[in-house]
């Protein structure tokens, strides 16, 4: 039994959904070119960028895994958020990588790679980005559906139907309006999502109390619940892996970088980064508080991922429940739309580049972009509903994300700052950073190798991926004989 009231809370959710869909559809008339569709004509300003970046990077799936981190690791579970905030602040202040990237005028990261490493690396980078991104996004639907079913008390049989309807709705406005629809709906979704997150957090802090939460963490996890370095499930390897992962995400995660590329100039992109950075602490700590409150109220549960929604289903009163669900729908819709668009943009701009030898008309380009997004939607429905998730969600996302984050961050840094970097190094880095995480994921699923995968663990495997990918870039680049043109450039 939950506190969800179909008349009161259902009306709040219904009004929100209709308003968002209407706004998303209204801006479709401004889309006349592929550039409008993919990067909003590069007209995005700072505050819209902050709203869009924050809304995109917080989905139900984020709320679920960060709450799971809070439930399983206490306050120390918010460590990845702090690391990401620091990385984003430093990158925003210095312009490291994002300045040359935005200055180059490209629409996707692989497009920049072509200038340095050639068309084959651009194509391979596109494949790796889409592979890593879609595997990562594959678990969004089911996890989001589980949250909504648990909080609203809806019959679990309707999970697939509900999430399919939601995805179709999001796909319709994303297909028609592209990045313009994404930005406008993200803005509305940011306001709705933030209102829900803040109100529910204040309610929890008042009801459960700070002292109770601290005592609960102390009782269950001791000092390790406050310090990641002494937490037995975390340690230095967890912190280092997350530092590498989050720094790489800030530099290369296509949905984050899309905001820099859509910004009206480089300074706007950097301001979006610096001013959104602290949001990434909130992104982990606020749901983490919810997870700790669930631990304090429910005690040990079999499925830690479900603890937070189960707790909220009875702790949030009617009226606020509608706000919470609307907030979470807002969070999920903004993430889904933006992810579909940005992975679609890489498929069109980079993977399909060899098929666009002659210039395509804007009409044909828009048609293909829209078709690709529809295809991604179908993939999400199929993959998202059958992949059996093992281990904790944040680790799955970290491992699948590493498939591309490791190589793309190495390639991007080398592309921007190392003159000697070349296609051999880039190819080797891509191969290494795809091979290690995929081997780990496959080993985890096969009974014969599952124990070995468990012994190595995701953190060491992840750290090895980043370090070996960097080493592969250096070794590969140094091994390739330099042409006389390269030597002249280097001398100059």
């Amino acid at each position: 039994m939950t506190n969800f009231n179909w008349l009161l809370d259902g009306s709040i959710v219904g009004v929100y959904l209709v308003a968002t869909m209407a706004a998303g559809l209204m801006v479709r008339k401004y889309v006349g070119k592929v550039e409008h569709f993919l990067v909003a004509g590069r007209e995005m300003d700072v505050y819209l960028g902050i709203a869009s970046l924050a809304a995109t990077e917080f989905g139900i799936v984020t709320c679920m895994y960060t709450a799971q981190n809070g439930y399983e690791k206490g306050f120390a579970g918010a460590t990845p958020g702090i690391l990401m905030a620091v990385a984003m602040l430093v990158v925003g202040l210095t312009g490291f990588v994002i300045k040359p990237l935005r200055d180059s005028g490209v629409m996707t990261i692989p497009e920049l790679f072509e200038k340095k490493f050639g068309p084959r690396i651009r194509w391979a980078a596109g494949v790796v980005i889409v592979l890593g991104g879609l595997l990562n996004m594959g678990v969004f639907l089911r996890t989001g559906g589980e949250f909504l079913v648990l909080v609203s008390g809806l019959d679990v049989r309707y999970l697939e139907i509900m999430m399919t309807a939601l995805l179709v709705g999001v796909a319709v406005y994303t297909i028609l309006g592209g990045m313009l629809s994404v930005l406008v709906t993200d803005y509305m979704q940011f306001i709705m999502m933030s209102a829900g997150l803040i109100v529910v957090t204040i309610l929890i802090l008042m009801n459960v109390g700070w002292e109770t939460m601290v005592t609960t963490v102390e009782t269950n996890y001791g000092a390790g619940g406050f310090n990641p370095f002494i937490n037995p499930t975390m340690g230095w390897e967890y912190v280092l892996f997350n530092l590498l992962l989050n720094t790489a995400a800030v530099l290369t995660w296509q949905t984050i970088i899309a905001r820099v590329l859509a910004a009206k100039d480089t300074n706007t992109g950097r301001k979006v980064y610096t001013r959104t950075s602290f949001f990434f602490v909130c992104r982990f700590l606020i749901p983490g508080i919810w997870g700790i409150a669930a631990l304090a109220s429910l005690g040990p549960v079999a499925n830690t991922l479900e603890a937070m929604p189960r707790y909220l289903s009875t702790a949030v009163p009617p009226g606020l429940m509608g706000l919470l669900i609307a907030a979470m729908l807002a969070a999920d819709m903004s993430t889904d739309s933006s992810y579909m668009l940005t992975w679609g943009s890489v498929i069109y701009n980079d993977i399909m580049a060899p098929f666009r030898k002659t210039r395509w008309s804007e009409k044909k380009g828009l048609f293909w972009n829209r078709s690709i997004i529809a295809f991604i939607g179908v993939f999400l429905l199929l993959y998202g509903l059958w992949y059996p998730l093992k281990g904790d969600l944040w680790t799955y996302l970290g491992v699948t994300g590493t498939i591309y984050l490791a190589s793309m961050s190495v390639l991007l840094i080398a592309c921007c700052y190392w003159r000697r970097a070349n296609s051999w190094g880039a190819g080797a880095a891509i191969f290494i950073s795809a091979a290690i995480p995929i081997t780990y994921l496959v080993s985890e699923q096969i009974p014969a190798t599952a124990d070995l995968a468990k012994t190595v663990g995701p953190y060491y495997s992840g750290i090895a991926t980043y370090l070996l990918s960097g080493a592969a870039m250096v070794v590969g680049s140094l091994l390739k004989p330099q042409s006389s043109g390269d030597l002249r450039k280097e001398a100059a």
């Binding site: 004509g41 957090t201 802090l205 001013r275 602490v281």
Partner: protein
């Protein structure tokens, strides 16, 4: 509170900063959308004019 001041401070900072930035972005972001759509409109009109002149 004194024992775990870091996490208390971070939690309070999240609530205060997030509340403030939400209101601020809600106001300024609305203006950004208006200006963005106006610029896109102006660009479209200019391109159509140039097209006709050609």
């Amino acid at each position: 509170m004194a024992k775990h001041w870091f996490w208390w401070f971070m939690t309070m900072a999240c609530v205060v900063w997030y509340s403030t930035i939400t209101v601020y972005v809600a106001i300024k972001g609305g203006a950004d959308i208006k200006n963005m759509l106006a610029r896109l409109d102006a660009t479209k009109a200019r391109e159509e004019r140039e097209e006709r002149e050609r």
